[in-house]
């Protein structure tokens, strides 16, 4: 029933899908630019470093054109997705949280930056208990920091909080070892 309705209606241009197609076409262009700028040494004439990039370039170009054609024919979004309005505000707040983390992780250290990100993301998702979130974020960030940094030996950016705790922890270990 719905399919016959769709067939009866003339295919309409789907703008979001068209933008995706054009974006991928631009990516194919970037791939082409990078492929053409790979210097080819005559020593490796048999299979140089450019054969696979060329294959990728051609594939990307064809696929992005096929996606543009699909967009011109009405797109491919599932109905359910189309009907759900995107919550741009929530996404925006989450993005602000990520950017804050990116900017603050070096000056403030991992834990402090993570707590700020945690609170912002919770807020974006609709949580209205910032104090509780600060506490939760702090516990989680410290668990992640000590789980990874100390147990797995991964070095993640230490800031003020970590340094204090690290000195504390080291002295406790020293005391325990006698």
């Amino acid at each position: 029933m719905s399919t016959s309705d769709q067939q009866a209606a003339p295919p309409r241009l789907a703008v979001p899908e068209l933008l995706i197609g054009i974006g991928l076409f631009a990516c194919a262009g970037a791939v082409a630019w990078q492929t053409l700028s790979i210097p080819v040494s005559p020593l490796y004439s048999k299979v140089g470093p450019t054969v696979f990039p060329y294959i990728t370039m051609i594939g990307m170009t064809i696929l992005s054109l096929l996606l543009i054609v699909a967009a011109l024919r009405g797109g491919w979004q599932p109905e359910e997705e189309k009907e759900t309005p995107t919550d741009w505000k929530a996404m925006g707040i989450v993005a602000v949280g990520l950017v804050a983390n990116l900017v603050l992780i070096q000056p403030l250290g991992f834990t402090a930056a993570s707590v700020i990100m945690f609170v912002l993301i919770c807020y974006g998702f609709g949580s209205r208990h910032p104090l509780r979130d600060v506490l939760l974020g702090l516990i989680l960030a410290l668990a992640a920091y000590f789980g990874f940094a100390r147990a797995l030996g991964v070095n993640i950016g230490a800031g003020f909080i970590e340094n204090q705790l690290n000195t504390g922890l080291d002295s406790i270990i020293r005391v325990l070892r006698g």
Partner: protein, 507 residues
């Protein structure tokens, strides 16, 4: 019989207290992340990849395999009680399982899926133990040309044949190709796709890509859909013990599901979607209680697909271990764990790393036993995990995502790439592009290039090696059929469908 002695040796590796502890840790963690929506085995294993610098290969693969199997068990709990399938492989479980939970038979649904997972997982692991040596013997005769053609076939099957659209699947795959080529070309020393940035010379780490697509992308997606309405958790009702009638209806479905899932998983195509959907269709056809399907929920419709899912997860390990050919995102990340140890999966693995391989297979048997215990008596604990509110859950996932990414080299550039990939992951999720082909593509494309170059060097630059070797030609032909076949089929179907419609219009 050689297999049995190998297996016995494997159990001696897996039964050491330390390795048992890794197995317990992996299965517990796996179940938890399987239950939690938004976290999957691929993301978790990616975040834990740094462990490969710390412990022996046996330990980390026992941990990863426990996570891999555990996520399958945990995922079914979420499908049944929440009706939000965490992974495509558990979509079918949600169909009947959630209906059973709503009609007060959630306990039986959870029981049949856990016991079915155990039966199928054990059969599947036996399948790995007995099939892998056979594949190894066969694979020893492979040359570089055959390997290259096999990878081409895998590229086509994971992207174009499975999933809803071959164009979108291939697009994802090619995005993976581009990411995989970033960095210095190991053979010639030429930088490729670095856009002149020195930070990109080492390439993009698979951790960044997996975390970006699966964690950051998923968080954006969930944030964007706050208007979509919430899924409610169906409270767990009914006893976990199945009645005699329920056992009678389940056991055949388990066996059929396992027999369907393992071979399909073991093919270089992989994927759990096809066997689960096939199993559902078969059970519906064979059931004596057809009226329950789609109404109150039929137990066969949970038992069969859930068994098929777990058996195919075991099957995926066959091409991964014997050929170095990953056919799922999780397997691709495990392959990069092998690379970080400097081990190349492939037929030689069974000779050079017998301890590792057989210890891993033996630990899978143990994992299955631990998992059925973890998932039945302790089910109440896992249900509680479902109640973690979304804001704190996703914010927490991103804290761990930051740790995993920033920990690689403390470079904010990695975080920038992570967030950009997160944006891409959101668009892919929103516009129905599969994400697994990106991971498979980025891991496998450089390997395919190596095999291609080897083949061309041996043949002195003669392209005909790829179609003059009969096996290579067969594989390439299969790949071509996989690419073109579905389109021809769809075209023919459309013609047939359109035929009778035109008649009344003309008249």
């Amino acid at each position: 019989m050689e297999t049995l002695s190998h297996l016995a040796h494997g159990f001696s590796v897996a039964f050491t207290p330390v390795n048992l502890m890794w197995c317990l840790l992996g299965t517990t963690l796996g179940t938890a992340i399987g239950v939690l929506p938004g976290l999957g085995p691929a993301l978790t294993i990616a975040l834990l990849l740094p462990i490969t610098y710390q412990v022996a290969p046996e330990a980390s693969f026992i941990l990863f395999a426990g996570i891999y199997y555990g996520a399958m068990y945990g995922g079914s709990t979420t499908s049944i009680l929440l009706n939000t399938p965490g992974e495509s492989a558990t979509i079918v479980t949600a169909l009947e399982g959630n209906r059973m939970a709503r009609s007060g038979r959630g306990g039986a649904a959870l029981a049949t899926s856990a016991i079915g997972s155990f039966v199928a997982g054990t059969l599947g692991t036996l399948g790995v133990a007995f099939l892998a040596p056979v594949v190894v013997k066969f694979a020893l005769s492979f040359g570089p040309a055959e390997y290259f053609s096999l990878m081409v076939l895998a590229f086509i099957t994971v992207s174009a044949v499975l999933g809803s659209s071959s164009v979108r699947g291939l697009t994802s795959l090619f995005i993976g190709f581009v990411i995989g080529m970033i960095g210095v070309d190991l053979q010639t020393g030429q930088p490729r796709f670095t856009f002149g940035m020195s930070q990109l010379l080492d390439g993009v780490d698979v951790i960044v890509v997996a975390v970006g697509l699966f964690a950051v992308g998923e968080t954006f997606y969930m944030a964007s859909r706050r208007y979509a309405g919430k899924d409610e958790i169906v409270p767990l009702k009914g006893s976990l013990y199945m009645t005699a009638a329920e056992w009678a209806r389940s056991w055949k479905a388990w066996l059929r599901g396992a027999l369907l899932g393992f071979p399909i998983g073991a093919l270089p195509a992989g994927g759990a979607e096809i066997p689960t959907f096939l199993s559902y269709a078969i059970e519906k056809k064979l059931s004596k209680h057809k009226e329950e399907f789609g109404a109150v929920g039929a137990i066969e419709g949970v038992a069969g697909p859930e068994a098929a899912n777990n058996a195919s997860a075991a099957g995926v390990l066959v091409p991964m271990l014997t050929l170095g050919l990953p056919t799922s995102a999780t397997a691709a990340i495990m392959l990069s764990a092998f690379q970080s140890y400097g081990i190349n999966p492939g037929p030689m693995l069974f000779m050079t790393q017998a301890n590792l391989v057989w210890g891993l297979i033996a630990s899978l048997f143990i994992a299955n036993i631990i998992l059925v215990i973890l998932n039945l008596p302790l089910i109440g604990l896992w249900v509680r995990l479902l109640k973690i509110p979304a804001p704190q859950l996703y914010a927490g996932i991103l804290v761990f995502a930051t740790v995993g990414t920033y920990g690689i080299s403390q470079s904010p550039t990695d975080l920038v790439i992570l967030y950009l990939l997160g944006g891409a992951g959101f668009l892919m999720r929103r516009f129905d592009f599969p994400t697994a082909p990106v991971i498979i593509g980025m891991i496998l494309w450089p390997l395919a290039e190596t095999q291609f170059r080897r083949a061309m060097t041996i043949s002195n630059g003669d392209w005909s090696v790829f179609y003059k070797h009969p096996l290579s030609l067969t594989l390439l032909t299969l790949a071509f059929i996989g690419l073109i076949g579905p389109h021809i089929y769809a075209y023919v179907e459309r013609r047939r469908m359109r035929g009778p419609e035109h008649v009344p219009g003309d008249a």
